[in-house]
Symmetry: C2
Amino acid sequence: MNKNDKILIIGAGLCGSLLALRLAQRGFKVDVYESRPDLRTVDISAGRSINLALSDRGLKALRLCGMEEKAREICLPMYGRLMHDREGNTFSSNYSGRENEYINSISRGDLNAILLDEAEKHENVTIHFNKKCKNVDIENKIAHFKDYKTKEEFSIEAAVIFGADGAGSSLRKSYISERKFLFSYSQNYLNHGYKELEIPADSSGKHQISKEHLHIWPRGDFMLIALPNMDGSFTVTLFLSYDEGEYNFENLISEEKITAFFEKEFPDALALIPNIKEEFVNNPTGPLGTIKCSPWSYQNKTLLIGDSSHAIVPFYGQGMNASFEDVFVLDEILNQDLKDWKSIFKTYQKTRKKDTDAIADLAIDNFHEMKDHVANPLFKEKRKIEMDLEKTFPKQYSSKYSLVTFNENIGYYEALKRGRAQDKALLNLIADETIHTHLDMTKQELEVILDKVIKETNEILEEDKIAGL
Amino acid sequence: MNKNDKILIIGAGLCGSLLALRLAQRGFKVDVYESRPDLRTVDISAGRSINLALSDRGLKALRLCGMEEKAREICLPMYGRLMHDREGNTFSSNYSGRENEYINSISRGDLNAILLDEAEKHENVTIHFNKKCKNVDIENKIAHFKDYKTKEEFSIEAAVIFGADGAGSSLRKSYISERKFLFSYSQNYLNHGYKELEIPADSSGKHQISKEHLHIWPRGDFMLIALPNMDGSFTVTLFLSYDEGEYNFENLISEEKITAFFEKEFPDALALIPNIKEEFVNNPTGPLGTIKCSPWSYQNKTLLIGDSSHAIVPFYGQGMNASFEDVFVLDEILNQDLKDWKSIFKTYQKTRKKDTDAIADLAIDNFHEMKDHVANPLFKEKRKIEMDLEKTFPKQYSSKYSLVTFNENIGYYEALKRGRAQDKALLNLIADETIHTHLDMTKQELEVILDKVIKETNEILEEDKIAGL
């Protein structure tokens, strides 16, 4: 490893641009090749999530690169979920019992733009747009590109190549096609797809529903969600089965049926989406997939990072945060002054893989929680107890959601282990009627519950350990 | 679905030949295309497991096709594991406390041969050898082949195509390459590979070590196993990391080091493998992979069955049994007189997928158990209690191993759920010192243990259920 090593990053999306910035700050010479046009000059949002949830793990990585404040300027804090039932009634559920814990709605494009701007301030960074990576000769560290504008094909050789090229990564595909090593790989799709719609701002440019919440219309087999944008609009996403159930993407093809579906299931949302028919028909239906793979690196030559190595479903709001945290973890490994890129890459994967596997599984858990459990009485009682515990004992208790979202100093894997055990303990203590709640719990009453939950959680973890789980 | 439908089966291995036989017995017209030469006329065992474990699920499917007795004629019963330590001491551990429960060592080639013989007795079956399937046009149900002898390429159209073409299935690859639907797919490799060696028969053609056991040399990070053959020999398999640990396949390259490794770790086995150096160098090192995918079928046109849909690692001795059970389950679905192949295929996957996912996971569990836990005191005490319980209460208790291997009337998924909960209950009851054993347990003492294990197991299952696991 040498500061003069010429580094090639494939992809100038969120992960690629943050990685370029960080490597530039560390003094490396970095070239970034991106297949899309420069999003600062062309609107290319179609078909991709327009806004995302930025939370503590992502902010930690932005802070490392000096970008936290600039990002916060374009953030809209969301303090909890606001659930909408079929009759239009709503009830809210905070993300945390601690006041300073919330997530942020942020525009993917705006965030990407400030990262590109910052990266380009470094003279050792060059970003090339409209250059599509076709494949990578991993043995010789040569990436083959096609220029979308000139249609020319060309090749770039580098000292080391990073694939930050997302779920459809060309570098990962080259790992599969070149067959230089045993490559463990999985792509798992949910039976649900997603489609984006829009609630526009009102005539004075204001948000028509609370902008301090992530809105959810949970319906068991499917759901609608909405996140606020800075311009007063909301990006709405429908998650629905492709082919199962009474209503699904395959059979929602006539305008009548689309309207009937929304009238029955989401009447209050329908009233706020004026272009529902047009948007439903014209906006693409996207798949929801999880990608895991191993190894991420090939010798001292290439590394997959971000979604290219671990694409996840969006239900924990952690996709971008996990990719940003990748950059943070890699930076920590670089601080260890290991002898070569091969050692860096191996140490990075050894440190990081269990955590990205965990967030992939947590995101699937949350799919079921969001569309279904949030409206379930047992689950609601659990959340109420957790909010009370977090409020009353802010240092002693963190829910699974808090462990994942607001505890950036522990890894996702630890958050998963402890969080799942806590959920199991709480749900069983409630079901057994070992713990009860009422409206005004005293601190003493809550302390008894806290002790029971901690004891039961630790027993569950210990029993799992003895069983080798 | 129509009896005159021309059915094409790709692959005449164990699953393909049993499927061809069963479909022929049901009156279908079946053509089978196999890439290898006819194993009844040519020795083609190189690089593939020479013997396999046949147990109750496989026997159930063979019975359905009238092949149980013929198979039993070439079986060698193995009643338990015989563990060998570094000093050459051995201790045995039965597979079951019930006398009639054992597994069978059987030659892959001999079993395949009797299935091919039986299938070919049906005039509605034709088996074509040396015809390699290159890919399948799934939309038009046309399979493209190359004849290995004449080098000619040709295509076959059929009413329905079954891919029984194993872990490297060409039909499955066509699902991926044709991109007609969202295909969930995973290939996961262990860091270990395997290599086969041989303990020959003694000069009088007899087995040199017990032929009534599956022999294991567990060493924590790696292991050696041996299964008996009818000719007095044993097929020995070394499972070892490719690149980790002091000894691994990458660094065991000199004859000195190979011998030193065996002398240190497996001295008693080394004394029985005269051609160790030659075999170690010349025999291939194979990977150990798990393949899962979904959907298995495309419309009413094609179906993956056997290893092509669920390749598993060999540590539960269930690979062939699971594939044979596929044929049994498909046959049950055919009995339901569903209206078309699409319904048959969908019902088949709905019935079967959770079970093949479960055996894949169980086989990974058993990898760790065999190489490591079998020599662990806690594990040994668990096994002793389980043997006592099975012997004393044969109808009330079945270990996880028995549930998987000898209880062919419950699915693998149920065996996994109940078996894992039982293991967790037993290991925790032993670790807590809630239950104790001594050499001569009375029936009354064992009954107390049985009640505790059942109660604890049911509690674990109930707690998991409440937690939504």
